[in-house]
């Protein structure tokens, strides 16, 4: 019994350790790397779109990355994690090995699991009972407000984001061809 406990503790420790290890990522735009997780801190390096980095950790809207010998903070939205490069070029990460190795907490047994297929959606028959269950679990907006207040959530006024349409035309994901 004790041995089992020891083993699982060791396993948990190993998992914590390995998830703290760097995961691969790619820089999505020409960007600066800062000394701290703030754009007011010192710029330690500049990186080009397409640069491969190792993601060390994250904090709010920032990722701590290593790029060559440089280590510092970069905006979360300026990097993609995973091994596919920019623009979804490596669709599939078919091997998946890099992902698995770098982040064991994300591993889900794939064999035998099936997602919703197009065919299943096409064949789907209206299910009145489940729809009734959906209705039964619905809540009133007032209840959602009360619960949010109890959780310390405060609604704030934030403007809509602009549409950076100009930049859209240069993207060329292979997934674009899907329809």
């Amino acid at each position: 019994m004790k041995a089992v406990w020891l083993f699982s503790t060791a396993l948990a420790a190993m998992m914590t350790l390995s998830s703290a290890l760097a995961a691969p990522g790619t820089v999505l735009r020409d960007e600066k790397i800062y000394a701290q997780a703030a754009s007011t801190s010192k710029v330690v390096a500049s990186v080009k779109r397409g640069t491969a980095v190792d993601i060390v950790t994250k904090q709010g809207g920032w990722l701590k990355v290593k790029a060559g010998k440089t280590e510092g903070w970069i905006r979360l939205l300026s990097v993609r994690s995973g091994t596919g490069g920019v623009g979804g070029a490596g669709v599939g990460d078919v091997v998946g090995a890099a992902t698995t190795r770098s982040d064991p907490t994300r591993v889900v047994a794939v064999a035998g699991l099936r997602g919703l297929s197009e065919e299943e959606l096409k064949q789907a028959q209206f299910n009145a009972d489940e729809l009734a269950r959906l209705e039964a679990n619905a809540v009133k907006p007032a209840d959602a407000k009360t619960r949010a207040a109890r959780s310390g959530l405060v609604a704030t006024n934030i403007a809509q984001l602009p549409d950076p349409k100009a930049a859209a035309s240069k993207s060329n994901s292979p997934w674009e061809e899907n329809y």
């Binding site: 979360l76 209206f126 299910n127 009145a128 959602a144 407000k145 619960r147 809509q160």
Partner: protein
């Protein structure tokens, strides 16, 4: 695109056959043109809009179709009643493909979070319903009228309430922007003429079913890339307005970017731009704008399923 043109051509032929002397084709063509040039609600109206004065819109003739069905196809925007009727049918069909997870506490939790986020969207004219589907696929769905679903496969990957809020907010934005209704309005040119895929099922709405095609196949159809990017932008803002850490949705996208294309992700990947593209586009829009926004991630309040 070529396919779309062909389909339009076919429907033009059939329409002119049915409508006799009346130029239905033109009406459809104009409707399509109007639809595709219509600016997004957040955009200022372009000045180069074709002047309607030079081409007076033809008056609708007396067709032999079901007036409700025709109304739902091309003559006007859908009313809220029509939108909810369409959404209910799609939701009922989707639930036929994947039922709800049998955990009422989970379902109510998702409704509490979802409604709070939806309150920040500005759309209060519809009742919002949220559900977690018993399915290992990694995906989320929105149907018109405020029906939002997350699969268990995706839910299990989430790490905080802010991430859940981000996912729900993206779907909420599809509803507030009526993205699926716009797709339907275009495709209904065919749907309204097509025959019902017909077994009678209790509670099912046959007229709406004719419009949406077979089962819940509309949920397997791609919106255009711009609609997905727009839902990311609007969704990130809705979640932040609700007091959540604005990085919930970006964190989920980061996680999706590491996933292989397999049976759990294939539909998601087929119907959405690559997560790397979505991160890049959202990054272009966000820039420094969220630097001063602080919110809660509520990891400790997140309802976890095994």
């Amino acid at each position: 695109m070529k396919l779309k043109l062909m389909i339009i051509a076919i429907s033009l032929t059939s329409f002119s056959g049915i409508a006799g002397g009346f130029d239905f084709g033109k009406l459809i063509e104009e409707q399509l043109k109007r639809e595709s040039t219509q600016p997004a609600p957040t955009q200022p109206a372009p000045t180069s809009q074709p002047a309607p004065a030079t081409q007076p819109a033809p008056q609708p003739a007396k067709p032999k179709f079901d007036p409700f069905q025709l109304g739902m196809t091309l003559l006007k925007d859908y009313s809220i009643e029509e939108e909810m009727r369409i959404g209910r049918q799609i939701a009922g069909n989707l639930l036929g493909a994947a039922p709800l997870v049998k955990d009422n506490a989970l379902q109510q939790y998702v409704n509490l979070v979802g409604n709070w986020v939806a309150l920040q969207s500005g759309r209060t004219d519809i009742p919002w319903r949220f559900g977690v589907l018993e399915n290992e696929a990694i995906n989320a769905f929105a149907a018109p009228g405020g029906y939002i679903f997350v699969t268990k496969g995706l839910y299990r990957r989430l790490n905080s309430e802010a991430e859940l809020a981000g996912v729900l907010a993206h779907e909420i934005a599809h509803v507030t922007n009526k993205h699926h209704l716009k797709v339907l309005k275009k495709s209904s040119l065919i749907g309204a003429l097509g025959e019902a895929a017909g077994r009678k099922v209790e509670g099912s709405d046959q007229i709406v079913q004719n419009l949406i095609g077979n089962g819940a196949e509309i949920m397997a159809r791609s919106l255009d890339r711009e609609a997905e990017f727009e839902a990311d932008r609007h969704g990130a803002v809705f979640a932040a307005r609700a007091g959540y850490d604005p990085w919930g949705l970006p964190n989920v996208l980061q996680g999706l970017a590491t996933l292989p294309n397999d049976s759990r992700t294939s539909l998601l990947f087929k119907t959405h731009p690559h997560p790397a593209d979505r991160l890049a586009m959202l990054g272009d829009a966000v820039g420094e704008r969220f630097d001063q926004v602080s919110g809660k991630d509520l990891a400790d309040r997140f309802y976890r399923i095994r």
